[in-house]
């Protein structure tokens, strides 16, 4: 069965330090991969998308993700966290036109 695993339910970082949110997917092929962010009382906002072009994908707000087929991973990173990055982040894999989501990672940014 297709599945997406976000390895951490909560991540806490200090402002100005790097962010790493981990995501693994299961598939016999390379699906389209997405990261979305949800701020409190807001909808899901697309951060970035991988579709088999460059393996390093740059997104909005300084985020980027690297696709590693050998590890079936698509981890999200940012060099320096900002207070406004505090939110819940979702990794998703596209199978056909259906998205399969991970359980989400809540990012806390400490001042």
């Amino acid at each position: 069965a297709q599945s997406v695993t976000q390895l951490d339910s909560h991540v806490s970082v200090s402002e100005g330090t790097p962010v790493l949110l981990r995501c693994n997917y299961s598939s016999s092929y390379s699906p389209s991969l997405f990261w979305y962010v949800q701020h409190p009382n807001k909808g899901l906002q697309l951060l970035l998308k991988y579709t088999s072009a460059a393996t390093l994908v740059k997104g909005i707000n300084g985020f980027e993700a690297e696709f590693k087929k050998s590890e079936t991973s698509f981890h999200l990173t940012k060099p320096s966290a900002h207070m406004s990055d505090a939110a819940e982040y979702f990794c998703a894999a596209g199978y056909g036109n259906k998205l399969v989501f991970g359980a989400g990672t809540i990012l806390r940014v400490k001042s």
Binding site: V4, S32, N97, K98, F101
Partner: protein, 118 residues
């Protein structure tokens, strides 16, 4: 350009009642999707419309859920009768449907409707 809108933002109903959720996709998007997040769980796919036709309804939990998309514009999702386990956040998304062959279209999500069944 307006994004995906959903109405209402919150709904509190009692078990056995009926609730109808509405989604207005981005103008010109032929594809419309419904997803649901039950408390503490993953966001799960419910169904996919292409224009007014149901392309995939494999995620619909049971026949208490009825989705429609009359005229290929807005969509409604009716729950009748509602049960306690139907509580959660219902998301709608839309996409153009002109993505690269073999790749999933970028889906743009609405803010969700939080449904509470008491």
């Amino acid at each position: 350009e307006a994004g995906v809108t959903q109405f209402p933002s919150h709904s509190v109903i009692e078990k056995g009642q009926t609730v109808t959720l509405r989604c207005d996709p981005i103008s010109g998007h032929d594809n419309l999707y419904w997803y649901r997040r039950v408390m503490g769980k993953e966001i799960k796919f419910l169904l996919h419309f292409v224009k007014e036709s149901k392309q995939d309804e494999s995620g619909m939990p049971n026949n208490r859920f009825l989705a429609e998309r009359t005229g290929g514009t807005y969509s409604t999702l009716k729950v009748q009768p509602a049960e306690l386990e139907d509580s959660g956040v219902y998301f709608c998304a839309s996409s153009q449907g002109y993505g690269l062959a073999g790749h999933t279209d970028t889906q743009y999500f609405g803010p969700g409707t939080r449904l509470t069944v008491l």
